[in-house]
């Protein structure tokens, strides 16, 4: 049985960052770089983004605060009407 959702939604942008061994960077900084690049890649403005989902994530480094999607959205300068953190 096909679904009404079939062929209705799409991935339209992908954001990459430096990757490998990249010392001196916070996990937050990688979220911000990947997110900004994905928005740009799609040809969108950051104000267009009204939903933000943090992928499931590992515990924070002992030198960093645990990340929340609200914190990432704030640093990214977006004001989504829906935010969420996916569970592991």
């Amino acid at each position: 049985m096909t679904s009404l959702l079939r062929d209705k939604y799409a991935v339209v942008g992908v954001g990459y960052t430096a990757q490998g061994r990249v010392p001196g960077r916070t996990s937050l900084s990688f979220h911000l770089e990947a997110s900004a690049n994905a928005i740009k890649d799609a040809g969108l403005d950051k104000d267009d983004v009204d939903g933000f989902i943090c992928y499931r994530q590992f515990p924070a480094d002992s030198n960093e605060n645990a990340l929340t999607p609200a914190m990432i959205a704030q640093h990214l300068g977006i004001a989504p009407t829906y935010i969420s953190q996916d569970a592991n």
């Binding site: 079939r6 939604y9 991935v11 339209v12 430096a18 490998g20 061994r21 990947a34 992928y55 002992s62």
Partner: protein, 296 residues
């Protein structure tokens, strides 16, 4: 992805950003996480993700006769893809089957190249409606089907170490939603925390019968030039580990036709991809998500 589609379909959102970022290689959090994965059986030497997957892989060796001869084809095949991807952590580091055989054990029966990488970096995607996608910059990677299944028993008490894992039902659900058969899939991007995860996922999706993976993988099936390319960025074994966003991002980029020297099609002597099957799994094979993306 189902979460994103849910809030789009409900009308709560128009453009959903999904993001992942982690200083996993330079920081200390992976070590902490792996210690948190330990239970009371740590006193008997069972702890960490490799321990859990090694337990499952060992059971699969007993149940359907798999083993390193199968897994090495996956590790070596994915490394070939990584060597076409300048951003991959293992770019410029080719690996032969003899190299695999010589690699050290992490937890028997899994050797170092059976384990995924630990990566500093991040990855993000944007999901929106196909209607809105038409006005945007990139060709859309259209979501055809999705499915989830979560056996969710701790691995040591489970009865699915040798499959069927959640991949069986999740794959069937995604194919049913898309209204296609498995043989219409042109390539796969499989969540590959370990080589065995790739084998059991492909097996549970139905690409081959239990234990027939070793034969199915012969002759470079999943490699550049192969009939069913798998993990074309190098995957988490050889490109970078960003949880499910490693396979999803690569599936989308392949569908968009933006993968340079590793692009599926004439460049790599493979089928130009119309449909790509993508997986994610969590815990020790405890949760599974399948997505089918298509060219539009």
């Amino acid at each position: 992805m189902q979460h994103a589609v849910g809030v789009l379909e409900s009308g709560l959102c128009r453009y959903v950003l999904i993001s992942y970022g982690h200083n996993a290689l330079s920081g200390d959090s992976m070590r902490r996480m792996l210690m948190e994965l330990s239970g009371d059986d740590a006193v008997f030497g069972h702890f960490g993700a490799t321990g859990g997957y090694a337990l499952a892989a060992r059971r699969a060796m007993h149940e359907f006769g798999t083993g390193p001869e199968t897994w090495k084809k996956i590790a070596v095949g994915q490394r070939k893809w990584a060597n076409l991807n300048p951003a991959a952590m293992m770019f410029g580091k080719p690996m032969t089957e003899a190299d695999y055989d010589k690699a050290r054990w992490v937890v028997e029966p899994l050797r170092l190249p059976d384990n995924c990488l630990i990566t500093d970096g991040g990855r993000a995607i944007i999901v929106t409606s196909l209607e809105r996608a038409r006005d945007l910059k990139q060709p859309p990677a259209v979501i055809m089907g999705m499915g989830q299944d979560h056996p969710s028993t701790a691995v040591a008490q489970s009865d699915w170490m040798a499959g069927p894992t959640g991949a069986r039902k999740a794959g069937e659900t995604a194919l049913a939603m898309a209204g296609i058969r498995l043989d219409e899939v042109d390539a796969c991007e499989i969540y590959d925390c370990f080589t065995y995860t790739v084998e059991i996922t492909l097996q549970d999706y139905g690409f081959f019968k239990p234990g027939e993976g070793r034969d199915w993988l012969q002759g470079g099936t999943i490699e550049p030039g192969g009939s069913m390319p798998v993990n074309t960025s190098g995957g988490q074994l050889s490109e970078a580990y960003f949880m499910g966003l490693t396979p999803i991002a690569e599936g989308a980029m392949q569908i968009m036709g933006r993968c340079g020297k590793r692009q599926l099609g004439p460049e790599t002597r493979t089928k130009s991809p119309e449909i790509i099957m993508i997986s994610d799994n969590g815990g020790i094979l405890e949760s599974h998500s399948c997505i089918l993306l298509r060219r539009w």
